[in-house]
C-alpha cells in the first residue's frame, strides 16, 4: 500500500475504503457536522451578542474610547500640544479637542442652565456628524447647533437669537453674549448620554465667549479598530489600559485619563464569558459524542478489514503506515464534516440559538449577527481534532497486530485466550482496579480541594464551568457504571422479553454481547446523552416551578402596591373598594432592632414590620404548615388581640431557645421593649423567615400596627398587600388600582402573576435553548446506534439467510434485529433517566436541607417523551427498514450477498 509511496496512495485508499461503507461513513460524517455546527452556532452567537452589547453600551456611552480632562474643575490646556502627545502613542487613531462649559440662557423671561460644547469647525461632519432637521450645520461666528430635545424644551427656532450668560475667565466676571440658532439637529450619539443635551458652537466662539483663548478642557480620543477584538475582550481591555497608561505617562498625572471603552468591554466581558462557558459545555457533550462515534465507526472499519490489514503487513507495510492509513480515514471524515458544519452552524446560530438567548436576559437581543473568522477557524480545527482523537485508538490497535494475527482468526482467538489466562494469574496486578482507584482519588481530590481553590481564585465563568464539569463527571460516572453492568441487564431484560419472543430475544442478547465493545460504546453514548438532556431539562423545569414560588415568596401576595411617596394607612380602604379586591393589608417600613433573651445573652439582628393583623391572614400566601403549634389565623388572632406580641421565625426561636409564650427583648433606637412571642413560623412570604437557626441573624418579625406604633410612635407604610377575589384577573385588578389610586398618589403596582409568568417564560426560553443544544448530543448518539445496527445487519447477512432457510419467516427475521435495537435503546434510555433522576434527587436534597425555599422534583414529561421518541423510533425504524430490505431478497440472494460480505 504505502511502501515507498507518499501520502497520495494512503489518501486514495482511505477514500475508497470510506466509500465502500457509504452508510457508515455518512453517519460518522453527520456526527461531525452536528458537533462542529453546534460549536459554530454557539460561538458566533456569543460573538454577535458581544458586539450587540458593546454597541448597546456605546450607544449609551458615546463613540469615543478615551476621554481626557484636567483634574478638578476649570482645568484648561493647550489642545495642539496635548493632541500631539496623545497622538504619538501607538494605537491612538484620532484626537478631538473640545471645550465644554456651562452657561445660562435667557429665553423669553425664563432663565435656564445650558451646556455648551465648542468644537473645531474642521471636525464638523467628520468627527461630529450631525443629522440636520432644520437649518444648516454652519457654526461659524456665534452660530450654534441645538439638539431637537433642547429646541422643543426651550421652544426655540432656527434663526432665533438668544442671550447667553457665561463666566469670562479673562474678564473674571459673567458676560452676556448673543448666539444665533443656525440649525436644529438630531441628538448626537458621539457623546455619552449624560452629555448629549449640549449646544454646539465653534471652538473659537466659545473660547472668545469664555476668554479662554487657545485652550480646551477635554480631549476625546478614538483608538484604532484593531485594538478591539470582540473574541478577546479581556485582551482588548488590557491593550486599552496599556494605551491609557502610555497617554498618562506622556501628559502627566495632572490630567485624568478616563478609559470609557475599557469599562464597557470589562462589563460585557464578564457577562459574555459566563454565557460562553455555559453554552460551550453543552457543545463539549456533543463533541464527546462525535468523538465516540468516530471511535466506534473506525473500530468497525478496522474489524471488517482485519484480513486486508494482515495482507498489507505481509507484503511489507509497516505499523506506522497502517496507523497512518487508518488515521487518514478519520481525518477525512473530520475535514469534510467540519467544512459542511460551517454553513449549517451559521444558519443555526442566526435562526435558532440567537433568538433563544433572551430567556437569560431581555438585553440579550441579537439584532446584528456577526461571523467571526476566529470561531470558524476554531470550529474547523475542532472537527479535525475530534476525528484525530477518535481515530487514534482504532488506528493504534490495528497497527499493533502482527500479520499472522490479522490473517488468522484462530491465532487471534489464541491470543485472546492467552490474555484472559494472564489476567487470572495471581501475581498479576489488577489494572482495572488500579485505574478505578486512581480515578476515585482524582475525582474526590478535585471536589474536595480544587473546587474551593478555583472558586476563590477564578472568576464566575470559571466557577460555573467547573461546577458543570463536576456535575458532568458524576453523571458520566453513573452511566459508566450502567455500561459496565450491561451484560447483566441485557441478559435479565432479554429473559423477560424472551417470554414472548424467545428466539429473537436470545439472538439479540447474544449478538449484543458478542460485540461487547461496540455495544458498550453505543450504550454509553446513548445513556450519557439521554442523562444530560433529561437532567438539564429536569433542573430547568424545577427552577421554573420554584421561580414561581420565589416570586410568591418575594412579594407575599397577589398584588403589592409600593408607594413612592408618603401615603396614609387609610388608602387601604380606597384600595379595598376597587373591584376585584378581596382584602388589603398595609405593611409598615421595617425597623432594625437587636433581639434576644431578657438579658441579651444571645442576641441577633431582627427587622420588625407592622401589619394589620386582622387582614394579613387573608392576603398572605403563608400556610398553616408554616406555623409551629397552631394555624396561621390563630397566630394573627393573637397578634391582633394582644398588644406587644410578635411573630418570629423558627430559626431565631431555636437560636434563642425560645417558644411560643416566651418573652423576647428588643433594643431599638426608640428604646427597649419586651414582646411576647405569639407564634413561630418557618416561612411567611414577603418577609425573611427561616427554619434554620444557622440563619437566625437578619430575619424579620411581625407585630400589629398598634404595637409598631407603640414602639416607633409613627406609622410609615412601606407597601400594601392585596388579595384578589376568585375569578378576577390580578393583572386587570392591578391596572384598575394603578388608574384609580395612582391618579392621586405616586405608586408602583406589581402583580405576582405577571412576574411569575415572566420568570416562567424566561425559564421556558432557557429550557428550549438547552434542549436544542443537548439534542445534538442525543442525535449523534442515535447516529452511533444506527451505525452499529447497519454494521450488525450487514455482517449477519449470511446468518439471515440461514435463519430463513431453517424456517424463520420474514417477520421473525426482522424482529431479531429490531429486538437488538430495542434492547439497547430501552436499556440506555432507562439508565439515562435513572442517572439523571439520581443526580436531580441529590441536588434537591442538598438544596432542601439548607434552603428555606424547597425545590420541587418536577418531571418534564414532554421532554421524556421527546427523548424517548427520538431514541426509540430512530432505532426501530432503522433496524426494521434495513432488516426488511435484506429479507425482501430471496433466500438464495441473501446467502449469495452474505458470502460476498
Amino acid at each position: 500500500m504505502c511502501v515507498g509511496v507518499g501520502l497520495y496512495t494512503p489518501f486514495k485508499l482511505a477514500f475508497r475504503n470510506l466509500w465502500r461503507r457509504k452508510s457508515r461513513t455518512f453517519i460518522a460524517f453527520v456526527g461531525v457536522v452536528l458537533a462542529v455546527s453546534l460549536f459554530i452556532a454557539v460561538n458566533t452567537t456569543i460573538d454577535s451578542l458581544t458586539v450587540n452589547l458593546v454597541e448597546g453600551y456605546t450607544a449609551y456611552l458615546g463613540k469615543y474610547d478615551i476621554i481626557i480632562t484636567g483634574k478638578g474643575t476649570s482645568t484648561f490646556f493647550d489642545p495642539v500640544n496635548m493632541s500631539e502627545k496623545v497622538l504619538s502613542v501607538e494605537g491612538v487613531e484620532e484626537v478631538v479637542p473640545a471645550l465644554i462649559l456651562r452657561g445660562i440662557t435667557y429665553i423669553g423671561d425664563k432663565k435656564r442652565g445650558l451646556l455648551l460644547i465648542g468644537v473645531n469647525t474642521s471636525d464638523v461632519g467628520d468627527n461630529w456628524s450631525f443629522e440636520v432637521i432644520e437649518g444648516s450645520i454652519d457654526i461659524s461666528t456665534n452660530r450654534c447647533l441645538v439638539p431637537d430635545v433642547i429646541a422643543t424644551n426651550f421652544d426655540i427656532y432656527v434663526g432665533e437669537n438668544f442671550t447667553l450668560g457665561m463666566y469670562n475667565f479673562e474678564a473674571k466676571h459673567y458676560v452676556n453674549s448673543s448666539l444665533t440658532i443656525g440649525g436644529i439637529i438630531k441628538t448626537p450619539s458621539e457623546l455619552p448620554v449624560n452629555m448629549r443635551r449640549v449646544v454646539f458652537v465653534s471652538l473659537e466662539t466659545l473660547q472668545g465667549l469664555s476668554g479662554l483663548n487657545n485652550t480646551v478642557d477635554v480631549l476625546f480620543v478614538k483608538l484604532s479598530e484593531e485594538i478591539i477584538n470582540y473574541s478577546d475582550l479581556e485582551g482588548s481591555v488590557s491593550k486599552i489600559v496599556e494605551i491609557g497608561s502610555s497617554i498618562q505617562e506622556k501628559i502627566g498625572l495632572e490630567y485624568t485619563v478616563f478609559l470609557v471603552k475599557a469599562y464597557v468591554l470589562e462589563s460585557v466581558s464578564g457577562v459574555v464569558s459566563t454565557q460562553r462557558v455555559m453554552l460551550n459545555i453543552f457543545v463539549l457533550i456533543a463533541v464527546l459524542m462525535a468523538c465516540i462515534l468516530i471511535v466506534s465507526t473506525m473500530l468497525m472499519n478496522v474489524a471488517e478489514r482485519i484480513r486486508e490489514i494482515g495482507i498489507l503487513r505481509s507484503v511489507g507495510s509497516s505499523k506506522a503506515q497502517i496507523f497512518t492509513s487508518i488515521l487518514i480515514e478519520a481525518i477525512i471524515i473530520g475535514l469534510i464534516g467540519s467544512t459542511a458544519g460551517l454553513g449549517l452552524g451559521l444558519l443555526l446560530g442566526k435562526y435558532v440559538i440567537s433568538p433563544s438567548l433572551v430567556g437569560f436576559r431581555k438585553q440579550f437581543q441579537v439584532s446584528i449577527f456577526v461571523v467571526s473568522p476566529q470561531s470558524l477557524n476554531l470550529g474547523l480545527l475542532l472537527g479535525v481534532l475530534t476525528s484525530i482523537i477518535g481515530g487514534f485508538y482504532p488506528a493504534y490497535s490495528a497497527s499493533k497486530m502482527t500479520p499472522l494475527e490479522a490473517l488468522s482468526p484462530a491465532v487471534r482467538r489464541m491470543i485472546i485466550t492467552e490474555k484472559k489466562e494472564r489476567k487470572l494469574r495471581s501475581e498479576r496486578v489488577n489494572v482495572g482496579l488500579v485505574i478505578g482507584g486512581i480515578g476515585l482519588f482524582a475525582a474526590t481530590s478535585f471536589m474536595m480541594f480544587l473546587l474551593p481553590i478555583i472558586g476563590f481564585y477564578g472568576n464566575q465563568a470559571i466557577f460555573i464551568m467547573v461546577t458543570f464539569i463536576s456535575l458532568g463527571l458524576i453523571l458520566v460516572g453513573l452511566t459508566l457504571t450502567f455500561t459496565a453492568i450491561l451484560p447483566l441487564t441485557a441478559k435479565f431484560f432479554s429473559k423477560i422479553v424472551g417470554k414472548l419472543w424467545k428466539i429473537e430475544a436470545t439472538l439479540a442478547e447474544r449478538n449484543i454481547m458478542k460485540h461487547k465493545r461496540r455495544s458498550s460504546l453505543t450504550f454509553f453514548m446513548l445513556s450519557t446523552s439521554i442523562a444530560f438532556i433529561i437532567l438539564v431539562g429536569t433542573i430547568t423545569s424545577m427552577y421554573a416551578v420554584s421561580s414561581q414560588i420565589n416570586v410568591q415568596n418575594y412579594l407575599g401576595a397577589d398584588i403589592v402596591v409600593y408607594p413612592r411617596e408618603y401615603v396614609p394607612v387609610s388608602i387601604a380602604e380606597n384600595i379595598s373598594l376597587v373591584e376585584g379586591v378581596e382584602a388589603v393589608c398595609p405593611v409598615t417600613t421595617g425597623i432594625t432592632v437587636k433581639a434576644g433573651d431578657l438579658v441579651l445573652y444571645k442576641q441577633y439582628a431582627l427587622k420588625i414590620f407592622g401589619v394589620n393583623a386582622s387582614t394579613f391572614p387573608n392576603v398572605t400566601y403563608a400556610r398553616d404548615i408554616d406555623f409551629e403549634r397552631g394555624t396561621l389565623h390563630e397566630a394573627f388572632k393573637k397578634l391582633a388581640e394582644e398588644n406587644d406580641t410578635i411573630i418570629i421565625s423558627k430559626g431565631l426561636a431555636e437560636s434563642l431557645n425560645m417558644d411560643v409564650g416566651d418573652k423576647i427583648r428588643i433594643e431599638t433606637v426608640y428604646g427597649t421593649f419586651v414582646l411576647k412571642i405569639a407564634a413561630i413560623a418557618s416561612s411567611i412570604p414577603g418577609f425573611s423567615f427561616t427554619k434554620f437557626k444557622q440563619r437566625a441573624a437578619a430575619t424579620d418579625g411581625l407585630v400589629s400596627l398598634e404595637t409598631y406604633c407603640n414602639i416607633t410612635k409613627m406609622l410609615v407604610v412601606d407597601r400594601f398587600l392585596i388579595k384578589v377575589k376568585e375569578g378576577f384577573d390580578p393583572i386587570k385588578v392591578a391596572n384598575t388600582i394603578s388608574n384609580e389610586i395612582g391618579g392621586e398618589y405616586d405608586i408602583q403596582v406589581t402583580t405576582t402573576k405577571e412576574l411569575a409568568e415572566n420568570a416562567v417564560e424566561s425559564y421556558e426560553d432557557i429550557s428550549k435553548l438547552f434542549t436544542i443544544l443537548l439534542s445534538f448530543a442525543v442525535v449523534i448518539a442515535v447516529l452511533g446506534h444506527a451505525t452499529s445496527l447497519v454494521t450488525s445487519i450487514q455482517e449477519r447477512t449470511w446468518e439471515t439467510g440461514v435463519l430463513r432457510s431453517i424456517g424463520l419467516d420474514r417477520k421473525q427475521t426482522v424482529l431479531v434485529y429490531v429486538m437488538e435495537a430495542f434492547i439497547i435503546a430501552f436499556l440506555s434510555y432507562i439508565s439515562g433517566v435513572v442517572s439523571s433522576l439520581i443526580i436531580a434527587f441529590e441536588l434537591i436534597q442538598s438544596n432542601n436541607l439548607t434552603s428555606d425555599l424547597t425545590l420541587p422534583l418536577t418531571v418534564p414529561y414532554t421532554l421524556y417523551l421527546y427523548v424517548f421518541s427520538l431514541v426509540f423510533f430512530t432505532a426501530l425504524i432503522i433496524s426494521a427498514y434495513l432488516s426488511y430490505k435484506t429479507t425482501k431478497l430471496s433466500i438464495v440472494e441473501i446467502l449469495r450477498k452474505g458470502s460476498r460480505l
Binding site: P409, R413, K502, I503, T506, L507, R510, N511, M513, K514, W798, E799, V802, L803, R804, S805, I806, G807, L808, D809, R810, Q812, S890, I891, V892, E893, L895, G898
Partner: protein
C-alpha cells in the same frame, strides 16, 4: 412394491438475467428422488447443481416447470406456505457458516424445534438424541468457534434432521473439510437419514464422496446427462 417419490421435478427451468444476458442455469430438468434414497448431484462448475438444490429447497423460485415434494406442487405455494414447508419437510446443510455463531451446539440444533413451537420437554429429548447420534453430546454447550470444522458439520446435520424432515439438502457439505472427515460426515449423514427415514440430495465435486450415495446424477449445462448407481 413401488417406491415412494419424495421429490419430483417436471421440466424444471431456471433462467438468470444479468443485464441483457440470459443464463439458463437449468433446462427442462426431470428428476425423481425416492424416500430413504441418498442422491449425489455431480457436475462441473456452473452446471446448475446448486441451482437445482436451491429450487428444491424453496430458497429460490423456478422460471418454469414444477416441483413436487411429497406429492405437493411447491411452485404454486405462497411465501407463508413455503416457510412452513422449510420448517417441516426440509433440512439444509451448507458448505460453511451453517451455524448461528452466538448459539451453542445445543441451541443451534434446538432452533428449528423452537421455531415450530415444539414444547420444551420434547425439544430437550430430541436435541439430546440427535447430538448423541452425531457423537457430540459432550460438546453441546460449546459455540461454533469452539468446534472443529467436522464437529460443526455434524451439528449442522443434527439440526437438519431435528424436525424429521422428508428431505435433507446438502450443498458441498465436505467442501471445507479434509478427506477423512468429509467421508465420515457423509457416511454419518447417510446412516442418520436412513434411520430417520429421510431422503438426502447432496451436491458434491468429490468423486469419493459421491460414491457413498445410492445414485449419482450427472448434470452439465443445466441438463441431466446421466445417472449411475454405485452400489
Amino acid at each position: 412394491m413401488g417406491r415412494e417419490v419424495v421429490v419430483e421435478t417436471v421440466d424444471l427451468c431456471k433462467v438468470y438475467r444479468m443485464g441483457l444476458t440470459e443464463i439458463h442455469a437449468l433446462k427442462n430438468v426431470n428428476l425423481k428422488v425416492y424416500r430413504r434414497e441418498m442422491v449425489a448431484v455431480v457436475g462441473p462448475s456452473g452446471s446448475g447443481k446448486t441451482t437445482l438444490l436451491n429450487l428444491i429447497g424453496t430458497l429460490d423460485k423456478p422460471t418454469s416447470g414444477k416441483i413436487y415434494i411429497d406429492g405437493e406442487d411447491i411452485t404454486i405455494k405462497s411465501e407463508k406456505e413455503l416457510t412452513l414447508l422449510r420448517r417441516k419437510k426440509i433440512g439444509f446443510v451448507f458448505q460453511f457458516y451453517n451455524l448461528i455463531p452466538v448459539l451453542t451446539a445445543y441451541e443451534n440444533v434446538e432452533l428449528p424445534l423452537l421455531i415450530s413451537g415444539v414444547p420444551k420437554k420434547e425439544r430437550e429429548k430430541r436435541v439430546r438424541k440427535l447430538l448423541e447420534m452425531v457423537g457430540l453430546e459432550d460438546r453441546m454447550n460449546h459455540r461454533p468457534d469452539e468446534l472443529s470444522g467436522g464437529e460443526q458439520q455434524r451439528v449442522a446435520i443434527a439440526r437438519a434432521l431435528v424436525n424429521n424432515p422428508s428431505i435433507i439438502l446438502a450443498d458441498e457439505p465436505t467442501g471445507d473439510l479434509d478427506t477423512e472427515t468429509g467421508l465420515m460426515v457423509v457416511q454419518l449423514m447417510r446412516k442418520l437419514a436412513k434411520e430417520e427415514d429421510s431422503t438426502v440430495i447432496m451436491v458434491t465435486h468429490d468423486p469419493q464422496i459421491s460414491e457413498i450415495a445410492d445414485r449419482i446424477i450427472y448434470l452439465r449445462d443445466g441438463k441431466i446427462i446421466g445417472e449411475h448407481k454405485p452400489r
